[in-house]
């Protein structure tokens, strides 16, 4: 038998369905791979060998069938898993075992997908490098001295290191797509409301979107179809059918984009992207034109205000959401020696339990929501959000999708941006507008720059997730997939 960890999710599902390989063998191969390489990669915060093998055995007994039955998966540690530690990479939740499953985890289990474990991330999904994890960073399989992106660096690195064929991420400002870009993997942010937030530890509720990560576009679409769809437990869940993303990916893989209009955002040009990133993006654009696509320049004048608006809206929502970590209901409690008041214990708990980036954002959000500053900051940012949405709507009257590099730079060395938080924020320059608008977007590998992967981003209108999969699969058929050096 060839190495099972090198196969795609679609191939694994087919082998398991035909009973040529057992689901237990598939899960074991990935668990063994984790044992062999994760000391160097550190993609996982917790590995659930027992749970994964039990779920695989249920598939082998014929209890569950389906398009991904028997395909194991890694889940970002911000998503609750019943009885399995969930920390959001924060000290404040160290050792916490949730009493319930997130809706998307219920759907993975119902689909017969064994959960290998929980992946590393920036604390509470705030960051672009995993350097803000309380448990140490994840190392990029392409170069262990470089960041794997963030916040979902663990999920992306697990794919690139062949520790898992599929993974779950969450995307608030680019946390699925930017890690995908810098690890040479695929990451999709569905339409906001297309995937349930129930059981997702909240960072910024109006932006947080769980989504699929894979090594191929088809695999990513297959996982998208498993987790997406209306959930009555999430009041912002959209009660409409999910677009057929799997059919769209298969259509795109035929390599025909005749009549598809790609919008190039004028305002993104010359925005500090590395030359190697621009070159790979341009070559990919030419490849898409050869497949029949047409490139149209569009103007989105308010995109330049997306990053400032995001860094008011997201911290504001975070300062409110993270108030729940008070040392009373779950997690850490510090300084409760009988002499201190509840308020003192709460303040000591939060100072000890939260890392620097989380504290910065809580303070920033508290400021933006203060009376006297609210109108100038949070209120104004919400108005800018309306204008950015209008820019998208106007652009989609002219073109089918918008395209850009996913992130301005390839994986950077550890420590090169932590000293200046705003330099870290720039990693999300091209991904943030979509989050403010609420539409879907995908990052697909499109080339290498100095030996490191570059991502190509495709943005689509809300509830037109299928469009981005079609273009992504077409690009993949033209440029191929990218394999990191052996670990």
């Amino acid at each position: 038998m060839s190495d099972l960890t090198r196969l795609s999710a679609a191939e694994l599902a087919s082998l398991v369905a035909k009973r040529e390989v057992s689901a237990v063998e598939v899960a074991t191969a990935h668990l063994d791979r984790i044992d062999a390489v994760d000391e160097r990669v550190h993609a996982f915060l917790h590995v659930d060998r027992e749970g994964a093998l039990a779920a695989a055995a249920a598939v082998d007994r014929g209890e569950i069938t389906g398009p991904l039955a028997g395909v194991p998966i890694a889940v970002k540690d911000v998503v609750t898993t019943k009885g399995v530690p969930t920390t959001a990479a924060s000290k404040i939740l160290e050792g916490w075992k949730p009493p319930y499953d997130a809706t998307i985890v219920e759907r993975l289990k119902a689909a017969g997908m064994p959960i290998l474990g929980k992946t590393n991330m920036d604390e509470f999904a705030m960051g672009s490098s995993t350097e803000y994890s309380a448990y140490g960073p994840t190392n990029n399989p392409w170069d262990l001295g470089r960041i794997p992106g963030g916040s979902g660096g663990g999920s992306a690195a697990a794919l690139a290191a062949y520790e898992a064929p599929l993974a779950i991420g969450t995307d608030t400002g680019g946390s699925i797509r930017q890690p995908g870009a810098v690890t040479g993997t695929v990451g999709a942010k569905p339409t906001y409301g297309g995937t349930s937030r129930y059981g997702l530890i909240a960072f910024s509720s109006s932006l947080d979107t769980p989504g699929p990560c894979g090594r191929t576009v088809e695999d990513t679409a297959l996982l998208h179809a498993v987790i997406a769809g209306h959930d009555p437990r999430d009041s912002t869940s959209i009660p409409q059918p999910v677009p057929d993303v799997v059919a769209a990916a298969r259509l795109g893989a035929t390599g025909d984009l005749t009549g598809v209009k790609l919008g190039l955002v004028k305002e993104f040009a010359g925005d500090g992207s590395e030359p190697g990133v621009v070159a790979a993006f341009r070559e990919s654009l030419e490849a898409l034109v050869k497949l029949g696509a047409e490139v149209v320049e569009v103007s989105c004048p308010n995109f330049q205000y997306a990053l400032p608006a995001y860094y008011l809206i997201a911290p504001s929502e975070c300062s409110s959401n993270l108030a729940r970590f008070d040392g009373v209901r779950y997690g850490l409690r510090s300084g409760d020696d009988g002499s201190r008041s509840l308020e003192e214990v709460m303040s000591l708990t939060r100072d000890e339990g939260f890392g620097p980036e989380v504290k910065r954002r809580i303070i920033l959000g508290t400021y933006a929501l203060s009376s006297g500053y609210y109108d100038a900051y949070y209120g104004q940012a919400q108005k800018v959000r309306t204008l950015i949405t209008r820019d998208f709507q106007a652009a989609f009257e002219q073109v089918d999708v918008l395209v850009s590099p996913t992130t301005p730079f390839v994986a950077f060395p550890f420590g090169s941006r932590t000293g200046d938080p705003y330099q870290m924020y720039l990693a999300d320059l091209f991904t943030i507008p979509t989050n403010l608008y609420g539409g879907p977007a995908i990052s697909v590998p499109c080339g290498l720059s100095e030996g490191l992967p570059v991502g190509f981003q495709i943005m689509a209108p809300t509830m037109a997730d299928d469009r981005m999969y079609r273009v992504a699969a077409a690009l993949e058929s033209a440029v191929g997939t990218f394999t990191p050096p052996a670990l």
Binding site: P99, P308, Y330, L342, E344, D351, K383, D420
Partner: protein, 99 residues
């Protein structure tokens, strides 16, 4: 001129229930000043008559059916508590003794 002072950051930390150290205050004050000067660019946009967007899904007043459904058992709800007592969350004192 600084957009935010060290004293303001200390006040915001108190409001946020963060017992930050002096070193953290020194560090955060400078960093938050840089961040605030950057995000203040939203003020350049003429948006007086523009309605705000709080989230992108055009749904309001989403209710569930008014029928009882199973919820977490008390034991499960208390399972992650740092301190529980007789089926309740136990907290440090919230009133001074003379109150």
């Amino acid at each position: 001129m600084a957009a935010i002072s060290r004293e303001e950051v200390a006040h915001l930390a108190r409001l946020s229930r963060l017992a930050v150290t002096e070193e953290e205050l020194d560090q955060f004050a400078g960093q938050l000043d840089v961040i605030l000067q950057s995000v203040a660019r939203v003020g350049e946009v003429a948006a007086e008559d523009i309605p705000p967007t709080s989230h992108s899904v055009p749904l309001t007043n989403v209710y569930r059916e008014d029928v009882p459904t199973p919820s977490l058992a008390q034991e499960a709800a208390l399972s992650g508590a740092p301190d529980a007592y007789e089926g309740r969350f136990r907290v440090p004192r919230i009133l001074d003794e003379e109150d």
